[in-house]
């Protein structure tokens, strides 16, 4: 709402320069968002909160200034000269939608340009002047906050008004020339035959005031706020009128505005005014709101004097009666936001000054809030990833549906079952994500594109999967992506990045004390967007919990990524939490020394390390403490279809010091098993 400093001063004779006045308004809850100069005047742009429609006018803001500064309010005086003839015939079919409709006819007007004072006033408050009659209606809207409308009386069939819902009328051409599709419940203003305005939103082209207009019918009404709002939204048409009606105008000031407009029209465009028709079947009654001084003080937190309460509310236009140690107050008609005691308490606090209220700290019983295990886990996980060199990203929860195509997801993949946003800003953000991967790949692509190298990112965020109920399942997932750059450091080794990320996961599990996990390859590829030869499932305690693998080169291309990306995904962080041991149990340190023996075997190339290790560990003994792979070798003199694996095996007994022959026996048993089960040859 734009308000002119000079115009406000006509209502309250304050003695404050513009910047001080702006501060006063802001601290009273009318936030001055901008201050600008306009031809010797100062214009404030004030953010009026939805609860204060009474401040959507100069008069309303002035009233507020008067109450805050305790300076008398000088209201306008309205005088209609001699009235000539009956007012217009008005019929309201649905008084619950239009509780008040007042009108007058003005005959013999001379439409033309507005006088300069009027044009300037409108311009200063951001409204473009048109011609005198329309300008006056806008002037009264700014001055009093009451939207007005002038019809060309001679275009109103039957010269009468009916307020009635759209009922079958589907199209209507508004003042701005647009043909609009009407919602069925829209309230319309009709003449004897046809609709002539959309109540509270905009008048019709068919009865518009023009240069040749002689006689007008002037409308000042109150329409039900929620209806105006629904209509305005259905039409996607928000006007100065609808903005005020949907917040609630002052029903008691409807006729004041009508008279004010009539007076100004006669002054500037001439004409003779009829009597008023004021259709107001059930005059509005405000009830009393009661509140005790004790409650006021206890909610605010400072002792507030009863006399201060009475005086403040009086200044704000309440009718206040003292009732024992409290008050009963009737709010003025324009304070539609006053409904209960806390509303009154806010008024008192506001005028007392929030800044004068002390700062205290609440006293409260001690309690021990339950530990949020998942949040703690996420914290540990994030810190572990950071230590391993990964940076956290936070991406939008949105998904571009095209990304699912790029990921090669088959039609029956549950991640294709996406939740769409009805009113997205753009297609790229038109659904809720069912996977974290596309966004992470976009992070890689963006950073590569900007010349960044050695990219390690992870994200812990929710995905949204249909649940069958109203709300989707929101599952917290964890994913990491790794784009390796072997030139990033002089120490960088050249091995496959897959093992870097695998090591990161293993280290994470070590930190979380998760022990029973494995990396497993099934018969079919684990994910359609992963390299079928370089990917696997992550299995924790027998459950498939995630995947690890190199991005499929075709998918990389679709995401504009050059080079290998390694991906880690944990499908549900809760599954990890369940595997984290509840407590740590100390195992006594060994009392006897260990014996370490190395073993190097030549096996066929497709034998896995896990296969060999399983055989070693499967030996029937309890003295194998650990088995550690320390070398893989291919090349001469190993035959081409073979490789050599070297393990270091640590033997230890819990009850005695092992002798060489005891170790030898087990060690040879291991060699025998490897020979028998893998066709392994001992490498000398």
């Amino acid at each position: 709402m734009k308000a002119s400093y000079k115009w406000l001063k006509e209502f309250v004779d304050f003695n404050l320069p513009p910047d001080k006045l702006a501060h006063t308004l802001t601290m009273a809850g009318l936030e001055v968002e901008e201050i600008e100069e306009f031809e010797g005047d100062t214009i404030f742009d004030i953010g009026i909160t939805p609860n204060r429609p009474d401040c959507l006018s100069i008069r309303g803001i002035a009233r507020e200034i008067s109450a805050v500064l305790e300076i008398p309010f000088k209201d306008i005086t309205v005088k209609i000269g001699a009235e000539e003839g009956e007012g217009p015939a008005v019929e309201i079919e649905s008084p619950e939608l239009c509780p008040r409709y007042s009108s007058r006819i003005i005959r013999g007007v001379k439409p033309g340009p507005s006088p300069e004072w009027l044009s300037k006033r409108l311009e200063s408050c951001g409204i473009r002047p048109a011609s005198n009659i329309v300008d006056i209606t806008n002037y009264v809207l700014l001055e009093l906050g009451q939207p007005m409308h002038a019809f060309d009386l001679d275009k109103l069939t039957g010269g009468r008004i009916v307020v009635r819902q759209a009922a079958g009328v589907e199209k209507f051409r508004t003042l701005d020339g647009e043909e609009r599709k009407l919602p069925a419940e829209a309230l319309l203003i009709w003449d004897a035959e046809k609709p002539v305005a959309i109540a509270g939103v905009m008048g019709g082209r068919n009865t518009e005031v023009s240069e040749s207009t002689l006689n007008i019918l002037l409308e000042s009404a109150y329409f039900k706020p929620s209806l105006v709002r629904r209509t305005s939204r259905a039409l996607s048409l928000s006007t100065e009128s609808s903005y005020r009606f949907e917040r609630g105008v002052d029903i008691e000031a409807v006729t004041l505005a009508l008279d004010r407009a009539a007076q100004l029209i006669v002054q500037t465009a001439g004409g003779r005014v009829t009597r008023m028709t004021d259709n107001y079947p059930e005059p509005f009654e405000r009830g009393k709101i009661r509140v005790s001084f004790k409650k006021i003080s206890s909610v605010i937190g400072v002792d507030i004097d009863g006399a201060f309460v009475e005086k403040t509310l009086g200044n704000l236009g309440f009718r206040v009666e003292r009732e024992g140690e409290g008050i009963a107050a009737v709010p003025p008609g324009y304070r539609t936001d006053m409904e209960m005691d806390v509303d009154i308490i806010e008024e008192v606090a506001r005028l007392y000054g929030y800044d004068r209220i002390p700062s205290t700290l609440p006293t409260m019983q001690m309690s021990s809030p339950p530990e949020h295990e998942t949040q703690e886990l996420i914290k540990t996980l994030k810190n572990s990833m950071v230590k391993s060199g990964f940076s956290e990203v936070i991406n939008f929860s949105f998904l571009n549906p095209d990304a699912l195509e790029k990921l090669n997801l088959p039609p029956d993949d549950k991640r294709r079952d996406i939740i769409h946003i009805r009113n997205p800003l753009r297609k790229e953000e038109s659904a809720m994500r069912t996977t974290l991967i596309p966004a992470l790949l976009n992070n890689i692509a963006l950073n590569l594109n900007r010349g960044e190298k050695m990219l390690r990112f992870f994200e812990v965020s929710r995905v949204f999967l249909p649940s069958g109920g109203k709300l989707p399942d929101e599952i917290t997932q964890f994913a990491a992506v790794y784009h390796k750059d072997v030139t990033a450091s002089i120490w960088q080794d050249k091995h496959d990045g897959f093992y870097d990320l695998k090591g990161t996961v293993e280290n994470l599990f070590l930190e979380l004390k998760i022990k029973r996990y494995s990396f497993e390859r099934g018969a079919s590829p684990v994910e359609p967007y992963l390299h079928p030869g370089k990917s696997c499932s992550i299995v924790i305690e027998g459950r498939k919990t995630g995947s690890l693998g190199t991005l499929h080169p075709g998918v990389a291309r679709a995401f504009d990524i050059k080079g290998d990306v390694i991906i880690l995904e944990i499908h549900d962080i809760e599954k990890i939490r369940e595997a984290v041991p509840a407590r740590i149990t100390y195992v006594p340190l060994p009392r006897y020394p260990y014996v370490e023996r190395d073993i190097a075997i030549i096996v066929s190339k497709d034998t896995t390390v896990a296969q060999a290790e399983k055989i070693i560990r499967g030996t029937d003994t309890d003295i194998i403490e650990s088995v550690k792979l320390f070398d893989i070798y291919t090349g001469k003199p190993i035959p081409e279809d073979k490789k050599s694996l070297a393990f270091s095996i640590r033997y230890r007994s819990a009850v005695k010091t092992l002798t060489d022959s005891e170790v030898d026996a087990v060690h040879s048993a291991i060699i025998k098993s490897l020979e028998a089960e893998l066709g392994a040859e001992l490498r000398s």
């Binding site: 809850g29 909160t49 204060r52 800044d355 001690m366 809030p369 391993s388 450091s489």
Partner: protein, 354 residues
């Protein structure tokens, strides 16, 4: 090599014996002081303490002195031996370490070659700020709660006293999934969910993602908020002021001042917006604060009794406060970030600064 000493050994006299020992000690001391290498030290060891060493020979002659003198002379001999040994040892250590030093000095590495490590990653600035603020409230006994991001209209609006078709809903541009399902526009949606499941007293924070259908230079459609609320008997507006002051002072420092302005939120009454003195210009006025010296940072107020009614609390019995904080906004002020769009972009060079 030093010349052999000229000491007469054949004729016993107690005095002569003791003098001899003293002379050997002095001679050894001089020899050791003149030694120039480990080899000299080894030669001197042989000269004095070897099988035919000067002092060793004195030990051999012990048998030829009167019985009653033996213990005393023996003790003096042993002292002399310890003395010479310790001098030799000391000098030997000096030679050994200096010779090691000499050889180590030839084995130089280039200490300016960069170290070998995986550079640590970085937490997103939003996480850093959220963690910091959560920790403050957890230390005050607040519980951390979460709620769904895809939320019923009821919890996001209706239960918070935003009636349908009310202009208050315009305060938040909303993404819709269906008529009664929205992307939550604020973490305040957690309030009634928590109240439905718990009875007062309540001390809760609810951090999380929120969504607004708005994107331009200063708005992103998804950002983070932290909602806090407290419900008990006798919670006052002044308590709200105190708690928020504590928060701001912990996050931005004790010199930061706060300004409470009346405002409007349907779910609080009285409501306030809180400005802090500009952390960039300390209140003098700059582009960040629009020249006013103040920056809006929080919305807050006393929980509206209508919210208690929805939750089934007795509004005559309980009062409480609620506040909401924009995390990106705090991060921008804390770290001097000038563009909110950097947060969802995840440029490595941005992330690496936190």
């Amino acid at each position: 090599m030093t010349p052999r000493p000229s000491i007469t050994l054949w004729k016993w006299s107690k005095k002569g014996m003791l003098n001899d020992i003293e002379s050997i000690k002095n001679l050894a001391q001089d020899d050791i002081a003149r030694a120039g290498s480990l080899k000299d030290i080894n030669d001197l060891k042989a000269k004095y303490l070897g099988r035919k060493g000067l002092l060793t020979r004195k030990f051999s002659s012990l048998g030829s002195i009167p019985r009653e003198d033996r213990p005393r002379v023996g003790r003096i001999l042993n002292e002399a031996k310890d003395f010479i040994e310790s001098l030799l040892k000391k000098q030997e250590d000096i030679f050994r370490s200096s010779e090691l030093d000499k050889s180590l000095r030839t084995q130089q590495i280039d200490v300016t070659v960069p170290g070998c490590f995986i550079p640590a990653g970085h937490l997103h600035p939003v996480t850093r700020v959220l963690d910091e603020i959560s920790a403050i409230f957890v230390s005050l006994g607040f519980t951390v709660e979460e709620g769904p991001e895809v939320e019923l209209d009821y919890y996001n609006f209706e239960a918070l006293n935003f009636p349908k078709d009310h202009p208050a809903r315009d305060m938040q541009d909303t993404f819709f999934i269906s008529d009664d399902v929205v992307l939550r526009t604020h973490t305040s949606s957690v309030q009634v969910r928590v109240m439905e499941k718990n009875s007062p007293p309540l001390r809760v924070i609810a951090p999380g993602k929120v969504y607004r259908c708005d994107a331009d230079v200063s708005h992103i459609p998804m950002f983070h908020q932290l909602e806090g609320f407290m419900v008990d008997r006798h919670i006052r507006f002044s308590d709200l002021k105190g708690v928020l002051e504590l928060l701001i002072h912990r996050v931005f420092g004790r010199d930061t001042s706060l300004r409470f302005r009346p405002s409007f939120f349907p779910f609080t009454e009285p409501s306030a917006e809180i400005d802090i003195s500009c952390v960039i210009c300390s209140g003098a006025g700059c582009h960040v604060c629009g020249g006013t010296g103040w920056i809006e940072i929080l919305g807050a107020g006393m929980i509206n009794p209508r919210v208690y009614e929805k939750a089934g609390y007795d509004p005559e019995l309980y009062t409480g406060f609620a506040f909401g904080l924009g995390i990106e906004r705090v991060a921008m002020l804390k770290y001097g970030i000038d563009d909110i769009r950097l947060f969802p972009e995840n440029d490595k060079r941005f992330l690496e600064q936190f």
